[in-house]
């Protein structure tokens, strides 16, 4: 579970398939596949004929959710090897999307954030996007000093993968950047950073 009470973090309210949508576009990562499978259990299979699913297995590859998703028989299913091609394909989907398309994102927070960034670029109101957090609570963090982003941060502090400064992960999230803020933890006395602690498993 994600910790509650961070004012700047979006609320991930859960996928709730919209019966009025003409088309459903799902961007799913890892355990996010189960969020869609759960929806089929709740809402039935009818919406699948109007659904396009983009899936990135990531850390859940051994569970082979791709096979289960494909077996649901959606209008279109496509599995990506890594995030970059998924984002490329997702842009193509948005280029072709028509009025009445509903967007759903499920997976880790870093994944949700990066998909939302692209969606917002395309002028989609973030309030209209259905999101559900599944899987690791790892954070995507931007170093406030060098501006480099580090993915899948599970500890605080952690060493910025770009400039190397030990960063405290602040509970402050930017939707525009799709990242939390990392601030040098031993700025006042360099070399005194505490040992990293597993905070976001």
């Amino acid at each position: 579970m994600l910790v509650a009470g961070i004012k700047s973090r979006p609320e991930y309210k859960g996928l709730d398939v919209d019966p009025h949508a003409k088309r459903h576009l799902f961007a799913l990562e890892g355990e996010g596949a189960a969020a869609l499978i759960d929806q089929v259990g709740i809402k039935g299979k009818e919406f699948l004929s109007k659904s396009e699913i983009l899936y990135l297995p990531a850390g859940s590859a051994p569970k082979d959710y791709g096979t289960s998703l494909s077996a649901l028989g959606p209008d279109s299913f496509w599995q990506a090897p890594t995030l970059q091609p998924l984002l490329f394909r997702f842009r193509a989907c948005l280029d072709l999307a028509r009025m009445g398309t509903r967007l759903y994102i499920a997976g880790t927070e870093g994944f949700i954030g990066q998909i939302m960034q692209v969606a917002m670029e395309y002028g989609i109101d973030y309030n209209s996007i259905h999101t559900e957090h599944r899987g690791s609570t790892a954070r995507r963090v931007q170093c406030v000093h060098c501006k480099g982003i580090t993915d899948n941060v599970t500890t605080s502090p952690f060493a910025c993968t770009h400039c190397g400064l030990p960063l405290l992960v602040r509970d402050h999230y930017s939707r525009r950047l799709g990242a939390f803020q990392g601030v040098n933890i031993d700025a006042e006395e360099p070399g005194t950073a505490p040992a990293p602690e597993e905070m976001f498993p």
């Binding site: 961070i6 004012k7 700047s8 931007q142 406030v144 000093h145 501006k147 400064l165 602040r170 509970d171 402050h172 999230y173 930017s174 939707r175 525009r176 950047l177 803020q181 601030v183 040098n184 700025a187 006042e188 006395e189 360099p190």
Partner: protein, 346 residues
């Protein structure tokens, strides 16, 4: 009145000082002997002569040096000034407001002449004389907000109003108390105040937002905010925290009077006429403890306030490390006598 501008620095050798005149007009932020967050807003109207409230956009002896420091910050990090694309009308609103106020209240230093949309702006302290077309960004050397806020003291945020919320969609932020425009741009009111402790729980931000959504044109409002800074450094950004953070370990009982500065923000908020956005001016004033205790009332009150602060606020304002040294040093200025109400010297 003609202001004599000081030649001074806010970095490296830190030659910034306040004149005797400027000490007396410092906006001391504590109107009583204790402090807690509140929606401490009041109408931003002209106040006492020889106070920072005399004019609504205050220009003081540090003007030229502050503008030089801002130029240095921007050269190092251009992301301190950003505007989202839909903010152009609000940028022009901001340029108009600042030019009109500076020209009206400081005619010796600034002149604005309008001939339809052709405007001529003269800034004598900075040696600027530009003629441009209002509304046409191509006629200025910078986008309008950047152009005028390179010539106006304080940080500036332009906040858009929609969906019953306020959105931090443009800003010039080079003298901030540890927050990042680059990180916060695009956030709404609750989001950008996310990291502030205690205030959310006591409803301060709900009330403040409600109040600001109804802010009217021609009726600006203001509040004071404060923190402490070691050395008179304007650029205490999170971006550069690893550069200025070590300053905090240099405070000793011998140098605290000279090194420790009370940092006060006079925040004023203005509804803008064309864009319906709000201009949020965060004007920073610095005063060393040595300078501050020359006003006996302030010397008595500051240690009392510092003693009574809740631990969350001590931590959030970065005071934990040096509070004991400050309290020891300030103790001799508190003789226990009662203090008069309000912020002004007796």
């Amino acid at each position: 009145m003609t202001i004599t501008f000081r030649n001074e620095t806010f970095r490296d050798d830190f030659t910034f000082r306040n004149s005797l005149y400027n000490i007396r007009r410092f906006p001391f932020p504590f109107d009583r002997d204790e402090y807690m967050y509140s929606v401490n807003m009041e109408p931003h109207v002209r106040g006492k002569k020889d106070s920072v409230f005399e004019n609504l956009i205050d220009v003081d002896e540090h003007y030229v040096a502050e503008m030089h420091d801002r130029a240095l910050v921007l050269k190092e990090d251009p992301l301190r000034c950003q505007a989202l694309p839909h903010m152009m009308a609000a940028q022009w609103d901001t340029l108009e407001l600042l030019m009109e106020h500076q020209a009206q209240d400081y005619p010796e230093h600034f002149t604005l002449t309008k001939n339809g949309d052709r405007w001529r702006w003269i800034n004598r302290p900075m040696g600027i004389d530009d003629t441009f077309t209002f509304g046409d960004p191509s006629t200025l050397p910078y986008p309008p907000m950047e152009y005028i806020t390179r010539q106006a003291q304080g940080d500036f945020c332009i906040v858009d109003q929609r969906d019953n919320n306020l959105w931090m969609d443009a800003g010039m932020v080079t003298t901030q108390a540890d927050w990042s425009l680059d990180f916060d741009i695009g956030m709404n009111f609750m989001e950008w105040h996310g990291p502030v402790p205690l205030a959310h729980q006591i409803g301060v931000f709900d009330r403040a937002l409600k109040f600001l959504l109804n802010l009217q044109q021609g009726k600006p409002t203001r509040r004071l905010n404060w923190t402490m800074t070691v050395n008179p450094r304007l650029d205490t950004s999170p971006e550069n925290y690893h550069k200025w953070g070590p300053d905090r370990t240099t405070v000793t009982p011998e140098n605290v009077g000279e090194k420790m500065h009370l940092r006060v923000e006079l925040q004023s908020l203005w509804r803008l006429p064309r864009s319906n956005a709000i201009l949020f001016v965060i004007r920073c004033y610095l005063i060393s403890f040595n300078e501050l205790v020359t006003v006996p009332k302030w010397g008595r009150r500051l240690p009392r306030v510092l003693k009574s602060l809740p631990p969350e606020i001590v931590d959030y304002k970065g005071l934990s490390r040096n509070r004991p040294i400050m309290l020891d040093w300030l103790a001799k200025y508190d003789d226990g006598a009662p203090t008069s109400a309000g912020i002004f010297p007796d």
